[in-house]
């Protein structure tokens, strides 16, 4: 994972601020991460954690009142995407970095056939004839598992089911064989059987194309299924980073632990009788992050240091890091987990 290969995508100290009536919202506040060729990195977080804003900012898709703060750096294969000119950026977008979003209906243009929309991606980036672009579009639709691809290519987005639309989005994102795919909640709007189809397809295409994937999701089960490395986001920051097996077996950050315990497991005999563990309270707004550790007022272990001093991302091993003072004072973890059983929301 680390070794001699340089990362394909490297984000360093990324900060994104939105000017709002309530003051500056620090949606992403100092995130550093790397994606290596061919690997799948999962970014997990709840709404308001900053994960989607971060994904958009990689391709500079943040519009005012949002802006990327000076000092942030996003490097893709040696090119600085924060400062490069628009022409260089366009050569990257869609060609070397593909992107799929949660809601395929809003991302597709309703007045063009899906075949035209895939072919357009090819025509914009490569010298080609219309007929050749169309043929590649149809071939790509076939590759993403759309039956009767030649007929489907002539249809409009509204004529297709949700699952087929998401396959069309994948075809558009992958037709130029990008080195990196950014997928933001790619299966959230889909039924479970279709979700399983799309994730299996994504894994197949990734293997065949040797592509890296940055997968953004709120769903830990998706991360467990597809990711090799996971970054957990909370309050605009990366709070834990680990290989996927280690994160699920030995999470360090109390927020990650809480999330893992809060998931209902599809086994009625472990469920029904017992109560689900909960994380009390709610994610604070980006205009008013708590002092110190942003999780301290929801954390069962928090002590005064957590309120006063923002924890750095402590390295627990070469591959595992946690933004929690428990890394420095592990004895504190024995404190009673008082917060665990609370199910009311103490403050708003």
């Amino acid at each position: 994972m680390t070794g001699a290969t340089p990362p394909l995508l490297s984000i360093r100290d990324l900060r994104i601020v939105f000017a709002t009536a309530a003051g500056p919202a620090r949606a992403v506040d100092g995130v550093t991460l790397a994606v290596y060729p061919g690997e799948t990195v999962g970014i997990v977080g709840e709404s308001g954690s900053g994960k989607s804003v971060m994904a958009l900012s990689i391709l500079r898709l943040i519009r005012p009142p949002g802006r990327i703060e000076p000092g942030s750096s996003v490097t893709f294969d040696g090119l600085d995407l924060v400062s490069c000119d628009v022409t260089s950026l366009r050569a990257i977008r869609g060609r070397r970095i593909g992107m799929v979003f949660q809601e395929p209906m809003t991302a597709l243009n309703p007045v063009f056939t899906v075949g035209d929309q895939i072919a357009e991606v090819i025509r914009v980036h490569e010298p080609t004839t219309n007929a050749a672009a169309w043929a590649r579009a149809v071939a790509m639709l076939r590759a993403v598992g759309v039956p009767a691809a030649a007929d489907r290519a002539r249809q409009y987005p509204h004529e297709l089911s949700g699952g087929t639309r998401q396959r069309v989005m994948l075809a558009m994102a992958l037709v130029l064989r990008p080195g990196l795919l950014i997928a933001d909640e790619p299966t959230t709007a889909l039924d479970v059987t279709v979700q399983a189809q799309i994730l299996a397809l994504l894994a197949d295409l990734q293997q065949e194309m040797g592509m890296a994937v940055l997968l953004i999701t709120h769903d830990l089960a998706i991360v467990a299924t597809v990711a090799s490395r996971v970054i957990v986001m909370y309050g605009g920051q990366a709070v834990e980073e680990a290989p996927v097996e280690e994160l699920f077996a030995a999470a360090h950050h109390p927020y990650t632990e809480g999330l893992l315990r809060a998931i209902p497991r599809p086994d009625p005999e472990s469920g029904r009788a017992g109560r689900l563990a909960v994380i009390p309270g709610t994610v604070p707004p980006a205009t008013a992050w708590p002092s110190g550790c942003r999780f301290h007022d929801r954390c069962p272990f928090a002590w005064d240091r957590c309120r006063d001093e923002m924890p750095p991302l402590y390295a627990l091993s070469a591959t595992h890091a946690s933004r929690c003072h428990l890394a420095a004072e592990p004895a504190r973890r024995t404190a009673p987990r008082a917060g665990e059983m609370a199910h009311t929301e103490p403050r708003s």
């Binding site: 709840e46 059987t193 467990a224 699920f248 929301e345």
Partner: protein, 344 residues
């Protein structure tokens, strides 16, 4: 009014809801979409019957027809022995106090211009249960029951988080002291940590008030957590109905097996090559003949006979119903789960 405690509180028999497909402004029906097609089930007092299925399977339409929020095309609905479809306006309004609905989206189901207190109070006024300071007391109690401090009554929905809004939605239902609650995907719009809070709350309320739930969900992990029995819907019909433990451990229907196999497990060590079910639900305007699941069915037993008859929902083992002509009847099985259901 009080029926015996073992009698079902709610029963649907052969319930159907068909929507016309029209063309143009004054168009006559070109055909019918059988959104719900001959659905039968009962919900016993104090239990949670989960209605699961993919989008378009008819879960929500079934619930709305049950509450008579939309007219059923045919079939019977009874609530505590009362024929719901035959009721006139006044007795229907009285009955509605006893059956309440919690919506999926706490963002769009609250009026943005009303305070939380006004929203919760509304049911009391509609049903003329209390006014003045008596109503204030009941609003305060309802908010407390759902874990919100009394001062939340003065706030507006935009000031609340998703979880808090959903608590308000539950308080609105609770304030009129219902017996039956239809929860339509009550946690699917919420974050994981908040989801757990709401699931726990619904279970506490059920225990404390002896509530009966019809719980609509597509998330089988949540269903495993809350359900006593589970009804699986596909294409407007119930295709399997069983006690929760039996359904999750030993599903009879190929569709239920596929649905369970598609559920992702939050454990990287359990990563599996999912038995992915090919295809998607058929088009509602062009239903396949016979069993609607036949085109996607991975079961090796399937044959041409499946395309000739619509399989009826039959009791294959005590308390376990399935709609598959290839599934034999084995009435001796699973004695530990006696049927709370009369024959549908």
């Amino acid at each position: 009014m009080i029926a015996s405690p073992t009698a079902p509180l709610v029963a649907a028999r052969d319930l159907s809801v068909h929507f016309p497909i029209t063309h143009g402004v004054f168009g006559s029906p070109l055909g019918w979409v059988r959104a719900v097609d001959g659905v039968s089930f009962t919900v016993s007092r104090g239990e949670t019957l989960a209605l699961v299925g993919e989008s378009g399977s008819g879960k929500t339409t079934t619930a709305r027809a049950l509450l008579r929020l939309i007219p059923a095309t045919s079939g019977d609905v009874s609530f505590d022995g009362v024929d719901v479809r035959a009721l006139r306006a006044a007795p229907l309004r009285r009955l509605r106090r006893r059956m309440q609905l919690v919506f999926q989206d706490p963002y769009s189901s609250l009026n943005p211009r009303r305070t939380v207190g006004e929203a919760v109070r509304e049911g009391l006024l509609v049903h003329r249960l209390a006014d003045g300071s008596a109503a204030d007391d009941r609003v305060r109690n309802a908010l407390e029951e759902v874990g919100l401090r009394p001062d939340f009554a003065h706030r507006y929905p935009y000031e609340l988080s998703g979880g808090q809004r959903q608590r308000v939605g539950i308080a609105r239902a609770l304030v009129v002291e219902p017996e039956f609650l239809v929860c339509d995907e009550p946690v699917s719009a919420l974050d994981v940590s908040v989801q757990a809070q709401i699931i726990n709350l619904l279970q506490d309320l059920q225990r404390d008030h002896h509530l009966t739930y019809l719980y609509i969900a597509h998330d089988l992990a949540v269903v495993a957590q809350v359900a006593t029995r589970v009804a699986v819907m596909y294409f407007g019909r119930i295709v399997e109905l069983a006690p929760a433990a039996a359904l999750f451990h030993d599903p009879l229907m190929p569709y239920t097996r596929a649905l369970l196999a598609s559920v992702l497990v939050p454990d990287p060590m359990a990563r599996r090559a999912h038995t992915v079910l090919a295809g998607e639900s058929p088009s509602p305007t062009a239903p396949p003949p016979g069993c609607a699941f036949y085109p996607r069915c991975p079961d090796p037993r399937k044959d041409a006979a499946c395309t000739t008859v619509v399989p009826p929902l039959e009791e294959k083992a005590p308390g376990r119903f399935a709609a598959c002509i290839k599934e034999p009847v084995r009435l001796a099985r699973i004695p530990s789960h006696p049927s709370p259901d009369p024959q549908p």
